[in-house]
Amino acid sequence: MKDRFNLYRFASPATFYPLAGELIPYFAAVSVVFGLAGLWLGMLVAPTDFQQGEGYRIIFIHVPASWMSMFIYLVMAFWAAIGLAFNTRLSGMMAQALAPTGALMAFLSLWTGALWGKPMWGTWWVWDARLTSELILLFLYIGYMALTAAIDDTRRADKAGGLLLLVGVVNIPIIYFSVKWWNTLHQGSSVNLAKSSMATTMLWGMLLMAMCFWMYSIAIAFMRVRTIMLERERHTDWVKALLAGGEK
């Protein structure tokens, strides 16, 4: 039984650290390929939108950034739940590594949304359900980072941050369904499993860009988590060996 492939092994920082290091270049490369393909389709090939002219092309970053801002939060909440339930070391590090990227995605969602709203709605911002709940998501990310940074003991910081993440998860369905539940300036979802309201090239451009953002997020989170691992595990033998071996 000793040789059996064991997924739990990768939950240990000492085994996850080199694995993440090897995977980073692949995720980065795939992200660039998806990004170039998505930009080519979205910016060069996709036709003009019959209602929004060329202004609609903001969608190729607005939607991927918005999706990632919500998805990264869900992944962080997942790690928080695992961490609180099983007291695993890796979970807190993962949440910590994802938070800044999630915050940047939420910021990009709001930024591109404002630049899209101005020409289409005539205003940069309205306090409607979709926009406000996305702003709250940005504040949740910032709150998580500030809270965990303010607590010196990392185990307690992880616990407090994890609770905040789990409580805040209620905001995600609110963002997602806000365009259905309330009257809002924000248009409904463009992608639908049954039928899509978009031209094929537009849809593919957007999906490719979403993959690009996804792979980017994984690569950058792996980069960040490796540094966090070294920092937090600096008293362990494996980190000492790495440092003595000239880890770069």
């Binding site: 910016m43 060069l44 090939v45 996709a46 036709p47 003009t48 002219g53 060329e54 202004g55 092309r57 903001i58 970053i61 607005h62 950034a65 800044p100 990227t101 940047l104 910021f107 990009l108 930024w111 591109t112 630049l115 899209w116 101005k118 020409p119 980017y216 690569a219 950058i220 980069m223 960040r224 490796r226 540094t227 070294l230 920092e231 600096r234 980190v239 000492k240 440092l243 003595a244 880890e247 770069k248």
Partner: protein, 62 residues
């Protein structure tokens, strides 16, 4: 196949150039700066940890 007739058409984005390029510009900026900052943070962290480790080893040797 290519939707645009000229480069200036592409840049103008049908009059939406400011909004479209304002969105893409900031996104590219963030996705360039974030990896640079993470890599730089890694370098300084490793340098600091190595210093601490050396100091620790000196102390135990004495």
């Amino acid at each position: 196949m290519i939707h645009w007739n000229s480069l200036s058409d592409f840049i103008a984005m049908g009059g939406y150039g400011f909004y479209v390029w304002g969105s893409f510009g900031v996104t590219v900026l963030i996705m360039t700066i974030e990896p640079i900052m993470v890599a730089r943070n890694r370098k300084t962290t490793i340098a600091r940890l190595k210093r601490q480790l050396r100091a620790e080893n000196r102390n135990t040797a004495e």
